[in-house]
């Protein structure tokens, strides 16, 4: 049953050192505010899962919170590389991280399997691809009817999933709309989930019946953080801050510049700053 909490409470109650955690969002609805709160609280030895680790994973990794990253595409979307993640992999700065690398298809199927309560995902994939030779978590299974060999990967079962969504109602049901990504699956696959939302409304009576709604009893914590996806966007609320993504390429290129930026904009800030950041977008 969803609790309405502050972001500080929600992170403190749900995320522990050593947890496996997914922050999901496919370009749209990336939970930046939640990731920043995690950085402020300084959780350690996290295993981070995400299809498209981007700025927030660069930040979590650069601040030394991550022990391992499970991912399929590590880039600054539309811009280039993730410089903090590269620095960790290539130079162990600020610490060494393990990686478990998959394709998007594998990651999407692994969330689907997690939501479906299965131990593994089965799909047609990785044929001729190099990842299956370097990742022991990519195995195969044989169709008992056709003999076709299919790929199998373990289901994702995060301890905690963080997502950002448009709105919740007073019961704690959550609406996600637009590019919905893997968020529903990531929440249903997880043991606990924290959802930041743009607004809380009385009820969802006027919604179309087939929209993506997470019932309140599938969500652990709901937190209102207007602008909480910035510089990602929230369909119906504000646009993507493309300039911030370009800027990140420069900030993240230098360890000192990164550290100073994180101090000013994350460590010494709070969830309240996000509402101001999306003004004009």
């Amino acid at each position: 049953m969803a609790k309405f909490q502050s972001l500080q409470e929600a992170v403190a109650e749900n995320l522990r050192d050593g947890d496996t955690v997914a922050f999901e969002g496919f370009t749209h609805l990336i939970p930046h505010a939640a990731a920043h709160e995690v950085i402020r609280q300084g959780r350690k030895d996290l295993t981070l899962i995400r299809m498209t680790p981007d700025i927030i994973y660069d930040q979590l990794i650069g601040m030394g919170l991550a022990r391992k990253v499970i991912f399929s595409y590590a880039g600054n979307p539309g811009v280039g590389l993730l410089r903090r993640m590269r620095d960790a992999i290539e130079n162990n700065w600020p610490r060494a991280i393990e990686t478990e690398e998959h394709s998007h298809a594998a990651m999407a199927n692994a969330y689907e399997a997690g939501a479906a309560g299965l131990p593994c995902a089965v799909f047609r994939g990785y044929r001729g691809a190099g990842l299956k030779d370097v990742n022991p978590m990519i195995r195969s299974i044989t169709c008992p009817f056709t003999g076709e060999e299919l790929a199998a990967v373990p289901a994702h079962r995060p301890d905690v999933t963080f997502i950002h969504a448009q709105k919740a109602n007073r019961r704690g049901d959550v609406l996600v709309e637009g590019i919905v990504g893997v968020q529903k699956e990531a929440v249903l696959a997880s043991k606990r989930s924290v959802v930041t939302v743009e607004e809380i409304v009385e009820d969802f009576d006027d919604l179309h019946p087939n929209l993506c709604v997470l019932p309140h009893w599938t969500v652990t914590s709901v937190v209102q953080v207007p602008g909480g996806a910035h510089p990602s966007y929230t369909h119906g609320y504000y646009d993507r801050d493309n300039a911030a993504y370009l800027e990140w390429d420069k900030i993240s290129a230098d360890r000192d510049l990164f550290t100073a930026w994180m101090r000013e904009n994350v460590l010494e800030a709070g969830p309240d700053v996000f509402a101001a950041r999306v003004k004009g977008l």
């Binding site: 595409y73 880039g75 290539e90 394709s103 999407a108 969330y111 044929r127 990504g181 801050d241």
Partner: protein
Amino acid sequence: MTYLSDFTPNEMMTIAAARALSNDDVCFVGIGAPSAACNVARLTHAPDITLIYESGTIGTAPDVLPLSIGDGVLCETAVTTVSVPEMFRYWLQGGRISIGFLGAAQLDRFGNINTTVIGDYHKPQVRLPGGGGAPEIATSCQEVFITMKQTTRGMVDKIDFYTSFGHGEGGNHRERLGIATKGPTLLITDLAIWKPDPETKEFTVVSMHRGVTRDRIQDTCGWKVRFSDRLEETPPPSELELTTLRDLQARTEKAHGGKKGS
């Protein structure tokens, strides 16, 4: 050689790619040149082409180019937007995509692609973003088109990592792995159009863009280039094609340049 001043090699590459698409195609579109090519096709000779971005947006018709694979404009103009697991299961793996576009950090003569690492996987010199959708785009789409700028660093004799499988070691290597789709059937660079040899599957230059020489193609390619016996010249961009591409890019610039969060 005044004709070269009329358009850039990048524009030629994008327009040549656009021409390879038809009205009935269902394209799995990546950001960059593929996205520009697909939308130029849609705005010129293929108004009913279906464009799909892996963010789940099906049948999109953006009036500006998206900066990321999941820009809002893709959803707003789509016929429908589905979840990412559905996208990869029903739409890509389901065999519904006729053309998948791929780019490459490293490419070999058989259309195998590396976007994962330079150097050893476990101790990389450069850690690149990785494959994303590519491993399954390469095998689930009916055909794969590759676009890239020619450089000897990019077009190499041997790639460091098989991010996605093209024709492997050539010949019937795909068949031997049980892959039923055609794989890379077209490589469009800033200098030329390449197609796999029907037997060996080695990419062969079939058409050079106007003003490009054989030497220039060889000098920017890390393997010994084969040229078709019936080598053609790529027709330069028409005025409609070039205007459409430039207008699209100008609209994109205007739309994305203006806003900045405070």
